[in-house]
Symmetry: C2
DNA sequence: GATAGTATGAAACGCTTGTTTAAAACAATT
DNA sequence: AATTGTTTTAAACAAGCGTTTCATACTATC
């Protein structure tokens, strides 16, 4: 990233949008930190909202690059693919340890989706969801209907996201020692894979659990 | 709740704060919906923030009433308890149907807590989590270590929360027809129960999946 | 070196926000 | 009925916001 006014703005806006949200972040503060003129946002991006969209895209692309090296490896088995997917997800989009503004701002979008979010999901998230769907269709019997595969996909993603969204709650509910010894990103990812594989294995014999729970 | 100006304000402010957040909610809109004069907020509550705190307290008390009715405890099977827990969580705590602004505003606080009411959120979440832990310890073998039970609990809650937090993502990724026919709150809750029971059943034979995935 | 197109700068505009004001309406007590 | 304190009303206020303006500085092309 260079040093043009446009790039200075993108770099300055990220942390501010992340910590304060779209509404509470002011153009004046962004320009102040970027050390550019107040009118620059409107000149280079049109308005505040289009700057926000660009920042969002940049944040997401940064997150993707983090895991790019890992996910490009050739696929051996679907189980191994799922393992890689979950690990990438936990490390990339969630990155439990870090408080980087990239993950903050994406989290904010999930909680309170702006109109910009739709665009982001379409362009950036859908490919990863479809990759997960391809993994699942290899893991599941062929007669499992698509909506069932979708729900299973959301269940897997949901677990990953919660460890980020609710990490504050996790900290409150369990002891610090337990968190230190058993809740590293690696361990959490392993658990999610194991939990989901068990559930998927069970999905082949649905009637068993239907009879239990029904 | 009566019909005084103060009470009209509390009733009107709840859903607005819940859907828009503190900053984006305007006192003009609140007074408009409450059909009271613009100056009423400052007269009866001092300022906008103290109105917000009162609304939060009200939401919390409402949720406590719900939790009280939930702890009508004993059930024959832990499976049935889990089913009830998930259904309650999806229907009331999360309220996919938008009838519960109380949960929305608390979820908002739980993700970005305002300094005033951090412990308010704590008190709200912990009883739910401990209730789930009691269910899980009946569902799982005794030798399953506590941190494993905790992770399984987070996995279940994570699925529930994701359908709330990531509902925008869900809407974009699947077709409207599929959402209408297969993603009602009832169907989602059923799926989560089934998925989690299958995973729990598998947790008794962990080594199987360890050997598959490792 | 003149010129056209682009980028920056300082100031102001128009609008919305939460809040305040002061008068009017109401309620209750004497 | 007069007086007191409380509540409601309409209007205005001051501050902050995103955005626009227009003059100026830069940069590349001829």
């Amino acid at each position: 990233m260079g040093d043009s006014t446009r790039e200075r703005l993108l770099r300055a806006a990220g942390p501010i949008f992340a910590s304060k949200g779209f509404r509470d972040a002011t153009v004046r503060e962004i320009c102040d930190r970027a050390e550019v003129n107040l009118a620059s946002v409107n000149y280079h991006f049109g308005d505040k909202e289009r700057l926000y969209v660009e920042v969002l895209k940049y944040a997401h692309s940064q997150r993707m690059n983090l895991a790019a090296s890992r996910s490009r490896q050739p696929s051996s088995s679907p189980v191994e693919d799922l393992r890689r997917f979950v690990h990438d997800f936990v490390f990339r989009a969630l990155a439990m340890e870090d408080d980087s503004w990239e993950s903050q701002i994406l989290l904010r979008e999930f909680l309170k989706p702006s109109t910009a979010c739709r665009e982001l999901v379409q362009e950036n998230i859908r490919p990863h969801f479809e990759a997960l769907m391809r993994i699942l269709s290899r893991l599941l019997p062929e007669d499992v209907p698509p909506e069932k595969r979708h729900k299973i996909g959301f269940s897997i993603i949901g677990q990953c996201v919660y460890y980020r969204v609710g990490h504050m709650v996790v900290e409150v509910l369990i002891s610090p020692e337990e968190k230190a010894t058993h809740f590293s990103a690696e361990q959490v990812a392993d658990h999610i894979v194991q939990f989901s594989l068990a559930a998927i294995a069970g999905a082949a014999h649905v009637e068993t659990f239907e009879s239990i729970s029904g």
